[in-house]
């Protein structure tokens, strides 16, 4: 069962990368279309929830040893770095989008979906890049 850590690490990588992609695509579509809901606004959240469930179930099925190996101390350190990057990037968005709204460069009704999706992506993208693909 120990070798299953590779498989569950890959499942985690793929699901989180997919959710990051959906968040980025949604944000891009909001900007391009000028509409707060260019596609169903449930997509990013649904992908996020599905990702959490898939990761939880795959780790559960793989067993404690494989789960511990997939979340070893290097992973925890790199995931922590991704959290820090995500946290500061999300905070930086407030003055950034505040300034963009103040300058009438972006309407307020686009800012909520944009910030929502980009806040998620601000953690997911560095997480996927830093922790990487298990080989």
């Amino acid at each position: 069962m120990a070798r299953h850590y590779v498989l569950i690490g890959r499942i985690r990588f793929l699901t989180m990368a997919l959710t990051a992609g959906i968040c980025l695509i949604y944000a891009l579509l909001v900007l391009v279309s000028g509409k707060p809901d260019p596609i169903s606004p449930w997509w990013p959240g649904a992908f996020g929830a599905a990702t959490a469930i898939i990761i939880f179930l795959s780790f559960r099925v793989a067993g404690t040893q494989a789960a511990d190996m997939a979340m070893d101390e290097r992973y925890v350190v790199q995931d922590g770095l991704a959290h820090r990057i995500g946290y500061w990037s999300a905070l930086f968005m407030y003055p950034l989008f505040g300034a963009l709204m103040a300058l009438d460069l972006i309407p307020y009704y686009l800012v909520f979906p944009l910030m929502g999706c980009l806040t998620a992506a601000a953690y997911l993208i560095p997480q996927v890049i830093l922790t990487g693909w298990e080989r």
């Binding site: 120990a2 070798r3 850590y5 590779v6 690490g9 040893q65 511990d68 190996m69 997939a70 070893d72 101390e73 290097r74 992973y75 350190v77 990487g132 298990e134 080989r135």
Partner: protein, 66 residues
Amino acid sequence: MDLINHLKDHRKKAGLTQAELAVKVEVSRKTINTIENRVFVPSTTLALKLAGALGVSVHDLFELEK
């Protein structure tokens, strides 16, 4: 002061692949790889596990650059 490690030499001497050593000390192969490439510095606990798995002392695996 940098940390020099001889993990790769001792692992090869023991005839183990990165994946085999990873299973012995219950971490991912990537963790072994990043330690060998001096990207990641392991905790004392992991350093002791690595030394135990390879049958050497921690001082044989890691030393401070003078």
